[in-house]
């Protein structure tokens, strides 16, 4: 697009790829994000100094902060995202739910208001139909929450949930919701311009999550039908229109086994998983975001959005699945990227790069496209097998395990699927049958490596000595024998 890019960085990110690849780069402050990336005043100072016309907030830190959008407006910088008002309307869960209800977007049936007592809870639960979920009014993070599957369980559940809510939030009040069993997380990508046109770009299924963190995302969803897509897409567009939404956003839904969908929340920014949508639509979302922010109309209508093939993304993390997913920062000694048809690697690391402990230990995303789901998954598996990083631990083997799992391959996934499946996946990684040839190779490499010298191994980065000790040793042996 011929746009000059200006990056900001904290001291921890001086060597990060976004700094190296930008046309211009300015320091925002020290490593802690509240002193750098979260400082709106600093960002504005840099943007003014560099003469920026527009600001893209990315998808972390201040990306959903209306104050950043406001600061941009008052500095005459185009914010590449929705208006601060739309962000506020949709950013708060309560406000977004109210708006969704008014827009006729389906919600999980329930009371919303606190229930007076146990008796009232029983009446409402029978009306909703079991199973139901007791939730703390002041709640969050699963505290004060209990699933109840029959009248007989209600008494104990009520007492437990109320006392947990009292302890956690100082507020014992509870409300009831229909319990959605094994829900899928399916989200709709929306995109609106400043001229009143809003379209949706199909869905992404993000049900493979670990502790509410997405691990694998795909588009289309394995359970999607054209009717369901239209219904969900129209609901998302309706909500966005009511909120006066402009630019890219995501409306998240829970979907149950009967393909009922329920509003969850709105992300008022680009998502980490946007490449899967790019690969099935052929659109460049960031480019469209910039065009829309520049006041251009969307260059296509809903009818012109065509989905083709299937895309799958997995998130690569510097973490050790075998050790409770403990982060594994450190210097990347070597890195090998996969290539070939339908493979895209969006990462920010390189040989010699040090993964720091400051921020999220995500290394990047590996994305594949195929004519159908099976081909996309097969390509992603091949890509993961070709991908190699040493010096730090990664979750690549676990991702391969998921991509080989029969339930995943069958599309039988839901938001708690990975958490439940994890023990089996992890033990599967450990109990591979013995491979004598691989073991021989490991022994040989261990010996050659130890001959290459411990001294050199102590250096960080991709170190190579002028002469391999293994060659020197060999030569000495030769001399010894020839004597």
């Amino acid at each position: 697009m011929g746009i000059v890019s200006v990056a900001v960085f904290s001291d921890a990110d001086r060597a990060a790829l976004h700094v190296r690849l930008a046309d211009e780069a300015f320091r925002a402050g020290p490593a802690p994000s509240r002193e750098s990336y979260l400082r709106i005043d600093k960002l504005m100072e840099i943007a003014r100094h560099a003469g920026c016309d527009a600001l893209h907030p990315g998808y972390g830190f201040l990306a959903e902060n209306p104050e950043l959008a406001r600061a941009c407006a008052s500095n005459n910088i185009a914010f590449i995202g929705p208006s601060p008002e739309a962000m506020e309307r949709l950013g708060s869960k309560t406000a977004a739910r109210q708006l969704a209800a008014r827009a006729g977007v389906p919600m999980v049936p329930g009371t919303k208001e606190p229930i007076e007592n146990l008796n009232g809870a029983g009446t409402i639960a029978r009306k909703l139909g079991y199973p139901v979920l007791l939730k703390a009014v002041a709640g969050g993070g699963g505290k004060g929450m209990r699933a109840v599957s029959a009248d007989a369980e209600m008494g104990a559940a009520w007492r437990d949930a109320a006392s947990e809510a009292q302890n956690a939030f100082g507020d014992a009040r509870l409300y009831l919701e229909k319990y959605v069993d094994r829900p899928r997380h399916i989200e709709i990508q929306i995109l609106g311009d400043a001229h009143g046109r809003i379209v949706h770009l199909g869905e992404r299924e993000c049900s493979v999550q670990r502790r509410h963190q997405k691990v694998i995302e795909e588009s289309p969803s394995p359970i999607m039908t054209p009717d369901l897509r239209r219904a969900m897409g129209e609901a998302a567009v309706r909500l966005a229109k009511d909120a006066g939404y402009v630019n890219a956003g995501t409306v998240e839904f829970l979907v149950d086994a009967q393909r009922n969908f329920y509003f969850l929340e709105v992300n008022t920014r680009l998502q980490v998983e946007h490449p899967v949508t790019e690969m099935v639509t052929g659109l460049d979302l960031v480019k469209l975001q910039i065009r829309v922010a520049a006041g251009e109309p969307l260059p296509f209508s809903q009818d012109q959005v065509k989905l083709s093939g299937h895309a799958v993304e997995c998130r690569l993390y510097a973490e050790d699945p075998a050790n409770q997913f403990f982060p594994s920062p450190g210097t990347i000694l070597s890195r090998r990227a996969p290539s070939g048809p339908g493979i895209r690697l969006d990462d920010g690391v390189y040989e010699g790069f040090t993964v720091s402990t400051e921020y999220d230990p995500m290394l990047g995303k590996l994305i594949s496209w195929g004519e159908d789901r099976a081909e996309a998954i097969a390509r992603l598996r091949r890509g993961l097998a070709e991908y190699s990083v040493t010096g730090i631990k990664t979750n690549a083997e676990l991702l391969l395990g998921i991509l080989r799992d029969p339930e995943f391959l069958g599309g039988e996934i839901y938001t708690r699927w990975l958490d439940e499946r994890l023990p089996r996946l992890l033990s599967g990684m450990q109990t591979q049958e013995r491979d004598a040839i691989a073991e021989d190779a490991a022994i040989l490499a261990a010996l050659l490596h130890s001959l290459d010298g411990k001294d050199a191994a102590a250096t960080n980065g991709a170190a190579t000595e002028t002469e391999s000790r293994w060659k020197r040793e060999g030569r000495f042996e030769q001399i010894d024998r020839s004597e």
Binding site: F326, P329, T390, G391, A446, L447, H449, S450, G474, E477
Partner: protein
């Protein structure tokens, strides 16, 4: 040259003479079984090995108490007991049976200390909890023994810093 190697827990006796050139066939024996392979070094800690007709990519990293090897994605933990290890400074393996030193895997903070210095601990027992990147990790004793040295609660540690010694 004879080496003793533990690989994924199993002990193997390896007779191996360092090859004269890269890219040539290397002959060695594992527990008396002769093995021939073709090995080249791709870069520091990365080897391409052709063995049994297969093409194997092996990466080697120094890990706590030994080597971490990955062969086409499969992991091996190895420790080499080199007869000439003292001269070479490869003595770390010998220590396994003796004094065990636990180092911080990354910079972090000690959030909990679970034992006291001088206390007797068994293998696998939790010694302390380190927090880094908002996640906590329990550091466990690799052997039964007595805790000799121990980091303090609240202490900030750098990667590689000694957290505990078990003797």
């Amino acid at each position: 040259m004879k080496y003793e190697i533990t690989i994924n827990g199993a002990r193997r006796c390896v007779e191996f003479t360092p090859p004269k050139n890269e890219g040539l066939r290397v002959a060695f024996t594992v527990d008396g079984r002769p093995v021939e392979a073709d090995a080249i070094r791709i870069s520091r800690g990365a080897y391409s090995i052709l063995h049994g007709g297969r093409s194997l990519e092996v990466t080697v990293e120094e890990a706590s108490g030994g080597l971490l090897l990955r062969v086409n994605g499969r992991e091996f933990q190895a420790k080499i007991f080199d007869p000439r290890s003292w001269r070479r400074g490869h003595g770390a393996g010998i220590e396994l049976e003796g004094r065990q030193q636990l180092v911080a895997p990354m910079p972090g903070k000690i959030v909990r200390v679970l034992v006291a210095a001088g206390e007797k601990v068994s293998a696998g027992q939790g010694l302390l909890v380190i927090e880094a990147m908002k996640m906590q990790n329990e550091i466990r004793s690799p052997k039964s023994g007595t805790v000799e040295k121990l980091a303090k609660e609240g202490q900030t540690v750098n990667a590689g810093e000694v957290l505990a010694v078990v003797v």
